[in-house]
Structure formats: C-alpha cells, structure tokens
Amino acid sequence: MPRITITVDGVRYEEDVEPRLLLVHLLRERLGKTGTPIGCDTSNCGACTVMLDGRSVKSCSVLAVQADGCDVVTIEGLGADGSMHPMQRAFHEEHALQCGYCTPGMVMAAIDLLRDDPDPSEETIRHGLEGNLCRCTGYCNIVRAVKRGAQEMGREVRTP
C-alpha cells in the first residue's frame, strides 16, 4: 500500500492508503476532517472543494495518492487565530447560507476565483461559482457575499 505524506490544515500526516482511496475519504474518514462534505459522485456539486497547494479542487475527484507531498487547506483551516476568514464572515453577514451543506465548498471556490479577479463583477462571480451547486439560497446572497468578501480581502491586503 503506498505511503503518502500530506499536510492538512497545518498538520503533517503520513498515511498508508489504497491507490483508489479518494482524497475526500482520506480527509473525512481517516483524518477526521469532516468539515468537508460530499454532495455527489460526478464532481458536479462542488461541496467537497478544498485548496490543494493553493488552488481549489473537488476532493472527490482527486486520489489521495495524487495529493502526496501536497498542502491541503479545508474549511476548518481557513480562519487564523480563532477568527473567521473574511469570506466566511461575508457569508455570515449576507445570509449566504441556509442548510450550510454547500457552504464549505462555496467559500473555497469563492476565495479561489478572487485569485484570478480580486474585484469581480456579478457575472464573473456567477460564472466563477458554476461548479458549486446550492439548493437553498438561489445564489443571490452568495453573490453578494463574494462581492463583500472581495472588498474585505482587498482592504486587509491594503492595511495589513
């Protein structure tokens, strides 16, 4: 069984894994990182989105062995010093979550899309989140939250 080394939310793990083990199952069932949920089996819903070496991936579509040597950040590791990431706060302020199941993936995808466009238009946000499905909010407040999160993140960069 292959042995991999992986860092998840700042903690380094060495794990023996079956080659077929999905990253999301490694996270949830071996490492106890249940903050990342699973919503589908065809990589359509995006609920399981995490950061892999700084870019968002759907962790149901990555084998654990592919993440060997990588740095993974999940929704649980996003905040710093016990406080929420600005995008998490923006989702709270704009009521951008209801049941909350899509939320971890949605927040990760939102942060990733800001890497390409730190000040996105509504249309850019909507297309940037196309791979993440939400059944509760109708997306209106998610779009508002991403705009707000972008502004907050821009402000934090300017005034560290």
């Binding site: 079956e18 589908c40 065809t42 009521h95 939320t103 939400c134 059944r135 997306y139 779009v143």
Partner: protein
C-alpha cells in the same frame, strides 16, 4: 389582550398591505444574522455521515437494475466470504421482520395501499429498489462485496405511462391493478356554469417529474445497547419517524430515540419513512453493531422520493367580460410503484387551491392516483400547491389572451378584493386576510411593467428575432399544515399541532425546546427572537434545542411552511406561561398584588415605585426555592402545544420578463420581481433568503429540471451530470419586496414562507415564455422549457400546427 400581545403585536400591526417599520426596541422584525452560521461556516458540523460510533460498520444496498421483475434467485454467499464483510442478506432474510413502509394518508374510501417491503422479496417495481445488502468494515469493502452478489430476475412489463396504465387489460404494477385511488370534490352547479358559457378555456398541462435534490445526500446511523435503540437520520421528521418506526419495526416507542442532527436541506424529500432507516435498525438489532449507511448521489436520484408528475386537464368557463363562472380540474397523478408516507395526499393538497385567489360560482376537482413502475412520488416543496397554482395561473393568461386583455386585468376582474376578507372560497377554505391589489401594485412599480410592455410591442413590431415575454403569477397558498381537526376530516393519520417549551435556567439563561426540526430555515435564530421579545431576555442569552426525541420530546416537525405559524406560536405561548408563573413569584417577593405589577423590558415593576425583579433574577429565585409563595413550584419552566384553527394564506405577485431567441430557442430571464405577503415577519433576512431559494427551485422546474425515464423504466437522469440543477450562472438576481397583511389567525400575525417562491415562480416564468411567442402562434411550451422545446414550438407553430 395580555401585555405580551400588546407588546409584540399591537404596536406593529400595520395597515393592510403596508409594512410597519420595526420600532428599534423589539427583536421581532430585525434582520438578525443567524446563530447557526458560525458552526456551519467553519466545518464544525454534525451531518449524519460525519458521525462515528465505536464498532461502527457500513451497509450498502444492491439495487434493482430492472423496473419490473420477479426475483427468482438471490445468492449472497460469495459476498459473505470477502475480507471485511460481516454479513450479506437478501430480502428473504428480512421477510419475517421488516414489515411494510407506512402510508399515513389514505385519502379516499377506494384507496389501495399495496404492501411495501423495505427490501424487495419476490418482485421489484422500480429501478433502484433494494434487493440485497452487505455489511462491512468500511464502505470500500462493502462496495466490493456488492459485486459478488448474484440476482436472477424474470422480467415483467414496465408500466410507464399513466393513460396506458389505466386501460383495462394493460400490464399491472400490483395484482390489485394500477388505480391507487380516485377522489372527486364538487362545489356549486358546474354544469350550469359551463352551459352556454361565452368563453371556455380547455387546456392540458404536464407537471413533469422532479428530483428534490437536497444538497446533503441521505445518511442513517443506527445503534443499540441491546435494550434501547438510537437512530440518527438526515430527516425532516424525527418525531413522526419515531412513531412510524416503532409501529413498523415493533421496537417499543419508549426504547427508540431518533435524532436529526445537522440536516442539509430537505424540501420535502426528507419527509419520509425510508427503507434504509428501517433496515439499518433491523441490522443493528441483528448484528449488535452500530450500522451506518451513506447514500451516493446516484443512489439518491434513483431512490429519494420524486416530486410533481401530474397530467392536468383544466377547463375554465367565463363570461364575455372575463369573470369566471366555473372551473373543472381532472388530474392524473403518478404515484410511482408504492404509496409512501403522504404520496396520495400530495395531489389532494392541491384540491382546494386550483381556484386560487379567484371568485367563481362552481368548481369540480377530480383526481386519479396511478401506479407506475417508477420511484414513488411524495412531498416536494409546495406539494400539490405548486401544481395547482401552475395550472390556474397558466389558464388565467389564456383567458386574458382569448379576451385580448392584459393578464393582470383578467386577474383583477376575478380576485377577492382586500375589503372582502375573510372570504370563504368555492372550495370551502376561509382566507383570513390578504391584499392582492397592494402586492400587485408594488410588483408592477418595481418591475416597470408599462415600460416593458412598450418594449414588447416594439420588438414585436420590428420582428426582432429576440422577443420579450412578460409572465404574471398572482398566487396564494395554504400554509401552516395544519389544523388537526381539518387533517382528521382529510383522513390524515396524525394531527398538525406543534409543541414548544421554555426552560429558565438558574443563571437566567434560557433554553427554548421546539418540536420543529429545522434543516436550513434558521429556527434557532427566529425562535430566539420570539422568546427574547416575549421574555425581555437578551437574544444572546437564549439557545434553541431541537431534532432529538430525547430532548424535544414532542413534535410534529418541519414541512408545509408550518414551523413559524405553528411552532413559533407554541414557543410564544410557552413564554407567556413562564411569565404568568414569574409574575406570581415576583408579587410574592415584592410583597404586592400580581395586578400591581407591570412587565417591561424583562422585569416586573411595582407600579408607582422603583421596586422590580427581572425575569432572569426570578429564575434564580425559583431555583433556590428559599422563598416561594404557596402553590408555586420551584421552576418557571413551561410548555405549550398549539393547534391552529385555520390554515394561513400567504400570497403575492411575481412578474418575470424573459428574452426568447426565436431562432435558437434560448431563454434569458431579463428581470424577476417578487412581492410576497407572508404576514408579519420575524426576521426579514431569513424571509428574503427563503423567497430567493424558493424562486430558484420554481424557475428550475420551468426551465431546467426533469426526471426522465426511458420506456423500460431506466432513470436517464440518475446523476447530477444528467439532472440539470441550476448553478449561479443559470439564474439572475431576483428583486424581492413585501407587503404585510397580518394573519388574523395567530397572535404573531405570521403566515409562513418556505414554499411561497416555488409555488409562485414556475407559472410566472412559463407564462413569460408563452407570452413572448404567442404572436407566433405558440400557446404552450412543455416544461422544462429547454431551448430545443422552445425551438420546436416556434417551428411547429410556423408550420401551422398548434404547438
């Protein structure tokens, strides 16, 4: 009126249709950010699939690839030999103990409720029905072992079409035949209404089958200590489930605890007693190990109950000026292969809603429930009411087109005026309050109705290949399911009350316990707001407990836009009882008569003196119990069970503008305005969110979603890649606003909001699509209005044929 009523409601009761500004003091009406969010946003979640128990094992189910077949052999022996496998069973192995999944709503005298074994024993009747299972140390081992199970089937004919199914001599789903039930409701002289009517509109609409698609797939975890059982399930109905599972499995109710931990959406799909819940309980009883099942999405599309699926024949008779004389509705409702918890009740919930907000002299509703070899249907957001609203709102547009008048004018000539409430409709419901004029006026102003109509004329005159369509939906719905007395009359197997209790803790903090079972609706926040106002206790000093039958011991759970209207009122009434007890204690401690006390900002004050005790101080006094008056027990806690007298009737006007490319069939929603009247609002932020999400699901029925079976009964939309749920890129921003006509049926003046958007939006969108194409001879586009269907409708009309 008590002080509480005066404080909560008196000052804020608005003129009909006008929203009262919050006075800045109360919690009710404030856009509080949710208490639920922090946990959900940081991954500290308790989805059922997150839960672990010592010694836990995993079950997976082998599912039928045939829509209809006799099971001639199941061999699980090879699976049992594989590593990590604890057990493998066929349906035969459960035959003596699994019972039949319940149907709680025998809607008619002639109803046939077939036996519904959780695991098929001798015959399968839809693709996805469980035929065997494997229990293994982990899900990978279980999946491997499923492949080692051998099943032989003898194919039987699939029954896919409702009309065909009812032809005598056609293949049968069940021995008893394909008719599940029939029901007819008549009011007024329908023959007379249609005789010599100057205008008769006769249309048939298809309500396509939908897959509810809550984002969290189902999951179940069952465990036992050999004596008692605990079941965690991703369910909307822990309380109803406990009763039903006790009856189904024979596990005594007092030794069964059901917990709905975090639940990721439901929309009716988790209002069910499922095969997997029963089988996990039986497995944990048999194996003595905690057993978990987690559904894959594909499994879910096949086996979570579906929604809608009706053929609606609707006829409307009117005077030459458009006033409605009568309405006739004939429904065929696809039950699927079995009757599940409320399957037959869903079309019947629409039976008194086709007449909607309109006055008429006669009404007839007839419904036939039909068995087919498909996944059973059951409640999906709105359950019967979206179907009814779609048909009547489509037909009102047809009436307007026939008469050459504006669709809103056709409605104005028929709707109940605001000064006519309370109004008893032709179908026998009494609407307590409403103001359709105010909501419509507000919606038209936000929409820029006249300007868009002018643009529409311009595009038509220019022969623009991209035509503009304007769709109208002036809906109402019956919410707050439901008065127990009325449920009894409808032959439903339970009541519709709700329970709430308030525990005053020694330090003055408050636990509110509710029988509702939220899964995204924000009850923890809203119930805190209600209790904060009622008790005068800070919002942050209140917590809300729910979803565990050992904690919230009584409840009827969450569905049918009932939670606030019934459960919220129960919380309010429990708070009133707490205050009554606290008043006696305060009077004793302050050495005055209870009548000399006034309650303000959480404290009882002696009139004319400065002496006072806060309710939080009184909680401590009750706890120490050092100095209690005669006949007062050592606690302020109280509970209440509230049963409403009537349904509530939210309403609103939704307007949709679409651009339809007549050359490609592409549809773009140009603008969408929703003005809803849900009565008084506890938290406007949560209400707006519910409306947004509801509209999205209704738009999705209009434009995107359809569960498609082939002629052999295979579900072609079994994955999320095939079943088109809209993404952010597929939907526009919605403009929402409210008018506020308080319900007169409850002390909060609330009406419910969970289903409003879904009920209203589907006809608004399709009316807009048809409106765009009407000059081209198009009178209908079947849902979902895909580019292909729109293009074919245009081409068909061009060829001279009616689409």
């Amino acid at each position: 009126m008590t002080e509480l009523d005066a404080g909560l409601v008196g000052e804020q009761i608005a003129e009909s249709g006008q929203i009262a500004e919050p006075d800045g003091r109360g919690e009710i009406g404030r856009a509080r950010r949710r208490k639920e969010d922090a946990r959900l946003l940081t991954g500290h979640t308790r989805w059922t699939d997150n839960l672990q128990q010592p010694g836990m094992v995993h079950v997976m189910f082998l599912r039928s690839p045939m829509a209809h077949a006799r099971i001639t052999r199941v061999d699980v022996s090879a699976a049992r030999e594989l590593p990590g496998v604890l057990a493998a069973y066929s349906g035969q192995d459960f035959a003596d103990e699994q019972g039949s999944l319940p149907c709680a709503w025998p809607v008619s005298e002639d109803i046939v409720i077939p036996d519904h074994p959780p695991m098929a024993v001798s015959e399968v009747r839809y693709v996805g029905e469980a035929v065997a299972c494997v229990v293994a140390s982990d899900r990978y081992r279980a999946a491997d072992a499923l492949e080692a199970i051998e099943v032989d089937y003898e194919p039987l004919p699939a029954v896919m079409d409702m009309h065909d199914a009812l032809i005598p001599g056609s293949p049968k789903v069940h021995e008893s035949g394909n008719k599940a039930f029939s029901a007819t409701i008549t009011s007024g002289d329908v023959e007379a209404a249609f005789r010599d009517a100057p205008v008769v509109i006769d249309r048939t609409y298809i309500q396509q089958r939908l897959i509810p698609s809550a984002m969290e797939p189902r999951a179940v975890l069952a465990s036992t200590d050999g004596d008692s059982f605990t079941l965690w399930s991703s369910t909307q109905i822990p309380h109803v489930l406990r009763v039903m599972l006790a009856v189904t499995t024979g596990i005594p109710e007092h030794r069964l605890r059901v917990i709905a931990p975090d639940v990721g959406g439901g929309f009716g799909s988790k209002l069910q007693v499922t095969a997997e819940e029963v089988l996990c309980l039986l497995l944990t009883r048999r194996l003595g190990r905690p057993v978990k099942w987690s559904e894959s999405r594909t499994e879910g599309n096949l086996t979570v109950h579906h929604g809608r699926d009706q053929i609606q024949h609707i006829r409307l008779a009117a005077e030459a000026d458009g006033r409605i004389r009568g309405l006739r509705v004939e429904l065929l409702a696809d039950m699927g292969a079995y009757l599940m918890l409320v399957t037959p009740g869903v079309p019947m919930l629409g039976s008194s809603m086709f007449n909607a907000i309109y006055k008429m002299d006669a009404y007839e509703f007839a419904c036939t429930g039909v068995f087919t070899t498909k996944m059973p249907t059951d409640a999906y957001r709105g359950a019967g009411r979206p179907e009814a609203t779609y048909a009547i709102e489509r037909v009102m547009d047809e009436l307007a087109a026939e008469l050459g008048i504006d669709p809103l004018e056709a409605r104005r000539r028929n709707w109940i005026r605001h000064d006519e409430f309370p109004y008893t409709t032709i179908s026998g419901l009494t609407y307590d309050s409403g103001n359709y004029e105010a909501a419509t006026e507000r919606a038209m102003a936000l929409f820029g109705y006249d300007k868009l109509r002018a643009e529409q004329v311009d595009r038509r005159d220019r022969g623009d290949p991209v035509q503009l369509g304007i769709g109208v939906s002036t809906y109402t719905e019956m919410c707050g399911l439901a008065p127990s007395r009325m449920l009894g009359m409808a032959n439903y197997g339970a009541g519709g009350w709700e329970h709430g209790s308030v525990r005053m803790l020694p330090t003055g903090k408050v636990e509110v316990v509710t029988g509702t079972s939220p899964h995204g609706q924000g009850h923890v926040t809203s119930w805190s707001q209600i209790a904060a106002d009622a008790l005068g206790v800070p919002f942050d000093d209140i917590t809300v407990l729910h979803g565990d039958t050992a904690v919230a011991h009584k409840g009827m759970d969450t569905y049918g836009s009932r939670s606030l209207v019934i459960g919220g009122v129960a919380v309010l009434q429990a708070c009133e009882k707490v205050k009554d007890k606290a008043r006696k204690l305060a009077a004793h401690l302050l050495e005055c008569s209870p009548d000399d006390l006034e309650f303000e900002a959480g404290a009882f004050k002696v009139r004319g003196t400065g002496a006072s005790r806060t309710i939080q101080e009184l909680a401590f006094a009750a706890f120490t119990a050092h100095d209690l008056p005669e006949g007062v027990e050592a606690r302020l806690d109280a509970d209440a069970t509230y049963d409403p007298e009537n349904y509530s009737f939210p309403h609103g006007t939704h307007l949709c503008a679409v651009e339809v490319d007549t050359e490609t069939g592409m549809i773009r929603i140009r603008s969408y305005v929703a003005v809803d009247d849900v009565g008084k609002v506890v938290n406007p932020l949560i209400v707006e969110g519910q409306v947004h999400g509801g509209i999205a699901q209704g738009v999705a029925q209009a434009l995107f979603e359809e569960a498609v079976y082939d002629a052999d009964g295979n579900l072609l939309t079994a994955t999320m890649a095939d079943y088109l749920l809209p993404s952010a890129a597929d939907l526009p921003a919605f403009t929402t606003d409210r008018t506020e006509t308080p319900s007169t049926g409850n002390p909060l003046g609330v009406k419910g909001v969970g289903e409003a958007g879904t009920i209203a939006s589907t006809p608004a969108v399709v009316n807009a699509v048809v409106d765009a194409l009407r000059p081209r001879g198009v009178h209908d586009v079947q849902m979902p209005c895909t580019p292909e269907r729109v293009w074919r409708a245009v081409q068909g009309a061009r060829g001279g044929a009616r689409s």
